[in-house]
Symmetry: C2
Subunit: 236 residues, 2 copies
């Protein structure tokens, strides 16, 4: 937790916030602050600044909050991801959130096991894992997650509008170009599930204007491919 994220509901007065949950636990066990000490805080979907510790008792911490600067810049990226298996999904959600992706489509694909769509992670824990990612990065802006359970209608009917005006890329190690290293261009990037997109799906994406790219002959797990590709596509 490199940033303590505050919610509107934490505020008891104009600039006074009171925390009682795992953030309180984290503050008392890790920061162990003195009264008057400043902690780095951010308002969900808002600015970042400091919270001065006004009061600390056995069940809550009270902060005077002062917000002063914007969160880190978002990536100019819409990410399409073949829905990963639940255990990997947790980590991928955190990674995506940490790295500054704000639009994520979790999509179906031939190699996505149907059972994944019924996972409790997907139904109840998405925001929790995204929040962990924001706390890690020092960001406040919650990503938007879109679920698309049918590949063909999504690619044919919806994707052209989503990817319009962006460079559109599909990470696919066969018959592909080297991943471009150009800077902060608006991008739509599709990454397949474990085992990759099948040929039909790559063809559909190619028809929709997506160029196949690779980042070398090694085959990476999705959770490794995501940071490797984003880091390559969006150099600082």
């Amino acid at each position: 937790m490199n940033l303590i994220i505050l919610f509107e509901s934490d505020f008891t007065h104009f600039d006074i916030a009171q925390l009682e949950d795992r953030r309180f636990q984290h503050i008392t066990s890790i920061h162990k602050p003195e009264i008057g000490q400043n902690l780095k805080v951010g308002l969900l979907n808002g600015q970042i600044g400091y919270g001065e510790v006004l009061k600390l008792d056995s069940s809550s911490v009270t902060l005077r909050v002062s917000l002063e600067r914007n969160p880190p810049q978002a990536l100019p990226l819409t990410l399409l991801l073949g829905l990963p298996r639940p255990k990997m999904l947790k980590r991928v959600l955190q990674t995506v959130s940490t790295m500054g992706v704000k639009e994520l489509y979790l999509i179906n694909s031939y190699r996505v096991d149907k059972s994944y769509w019924g996972s409790p992670v997907l139904e109840k824990q998405i925001n929790e894992h995204l929040l962990l990612g924001l706390e890690q990065a020092g960001d406040t802006v919650m990503p938007n997650i879109h679920l698309r359970k049918r590949f063909k209608p999504f690619v044919e009917d919806e994707l052209p509008a989503i990817s319009q005006g962006s460079r559109s890329l599909v990470a696919h190690p066969y018959n592909a170009s080297t991943c471009p290293e150009t800077a902060n261009i608006k991008t739509t990037l599709a990454i397949g599930p474990e085992g990759g997109f099948i040929d039909y799906e790559v063809e559909k994406l190619n028809q929709c204007g997506f160029d196949s790219i690779h980042i070398g002959e090694r085959i990476l797990r999705v959770e490794t491919a995501v940071p490797a590709l984003l880091s390559r596509l969006f150099p600082v």
Copy 2:
């Protein structure tokens, strides 16, 4: 398992290998091959090629092995990593192995919990996780892992010889330059533990010729920072 890795001990004759363990399970449950079918195989620390299925029964598969090409190129990198906590260590070992690192030093640091050095992962499972990484990547060459339980003697007495003739970098988000994007230069890269290196440690590394670099203002978990940094430093 994108590559079935064979050991010398699998060979019953000159080019005939018999598999009975989890590789046999994987072949029968995932590949479900016919007799005569070719499977992608590689010899540990050797070449990659094909194994023709000669025989398949309820407990083993017999392959005629033909090796023909070299594994993917290794990264020209020596990686120094503050020892991660055991759960993260497993994933980091796989990632490092998948991405082609061949020299990894797991080192102590102020923020490495002493208990991590006693983890069963470190004592018994290192090779298992490295092997999973090779199978994922399609590589055969086992990385060399070095454990260094004392930071100062390592940096003062051993590191100068290790990093000699390489560009030497420490990933540290403060007072740092942007990560360079130059291509395949021999490199030594140090990445701290969770919470990062302390100032004293960064100073020691700087004194040893390591330049501080960052890849943006977002703070990444170690398992995300590794692929992000390697992908940036070694573009294909």
